[in-house]
């Protein structure tokens, strides 16, 4: 999927770095549980609010928050400073 990153006019080094980030993030997302991945994508790809995710998933706000925390811990823990 990283190869689908459109060229945005930046230098090749930045392009390569962005592609690497995408590749790594995709790999980490695959390791998350269904709920963690879903709420993470709802929040950061669909840009939904926590309350909206709570409604859509039929979960308590605190449960959504916990899933997001776990997903973020996994993402930032595995990718370190690259993201």
């Amino acid at each position: 999927m990283a190869s689908f990153l459109p060229a945005s006019g930046s230098n090749p080094e930045a392009q390569l770095e962005a592609k690497e980030k995408v590749k790594q993030l995709a790999r980490v997302l695959e390791t998350l549980s269904y709920n963690q991945r879903t709420v993470f994508l709802m929040k950061f790809t669909e840009e939904m609010e926590v309350a909206e995710i709570s409604d859509a998933m039929g979960m308590q706000v605190n449960t959504v928050r916990t899933h997001l925390h776990r997903a973020l811990t996994a993402v930032r823990g595995r990718l370190g400073r690259t993201i």
Binding site: V22, L25, A26, K43, F44, V50
Partner: protein
């Protein structure tokens, strides 16, 4: 507890900020701290790259375009008045000569025309062919009852029945 020993945001406070549930204290720190601010920006740039890539990927999916293409072309053809006129013209051009030809044959065919294909020699030839096929088949064929060994093992049949009933 929003700060670590290093005076930067704790992981939990940082996550809360990313989620959009950051406390006013965390937000104030973020506004003042360039290190935490760059971490947030770094995170968002990674997510943005991922989102752009996934959007480009979903737009480039071949099956989606294959499904969309015929649907749109069918809709375009079906709604165009020119296409309806063309279809009607084709129907008339092909349908009328075919109908005329059929009615001509219906009216002008004689009994001898219909019998022409079924001459006695042809019928005899076909009968010979069928007979030879029958002979060839029956030579290598066992009687159908032998195929199932019904006569050799009468008890196995009676045993098998209760099992099949159980099912």
């Amino acid at each position: 507890m929003t700060r670590e020993r290093s005076a930067h945001l704790s992981e939990e406070a940082f996550d809360d900020l990313l989620i959009g549930l950051g406390s006013p204290e965390s937000r104030a720190h973020l506004a003042a701290c360039s290190v935490c601010n760059s971490r947030v920006n770094e995170f968002h740039s990674g997510i943005d790259a991922f989102n752009r890539a996934s959007l480009a990927w979903s737009e480039a999916r071949p099956f989606a375009s294959r499904r969309a293409a015929p649907r749109s072309s069918v809709r375009r053809v079906a709604t165009s008045p020119l296409s309806w006129a063309l279809a009607a013209a084709l129907l008339i051009a092909i349908g009328i000569p075919t109908w005329n030809r059929q009615s001509y044959f219906k009216n002008n065919a004689t009994v001898s025309d219909l019998q022409q294909g079924d001459s006695e020699a042809r019928i005899a030839q076909d009968n010979d062919l069928l007979r030879s096929v029958n002979v060839a088949i029956s030579q290598g064929e066992k009687p159908s009852i032998d195929e199932y060994n019904l006569l050799e093992a009468p008890h196995s049949r009676s045993r098998a029945r209760p099992e099949s009933r159980k099912r």
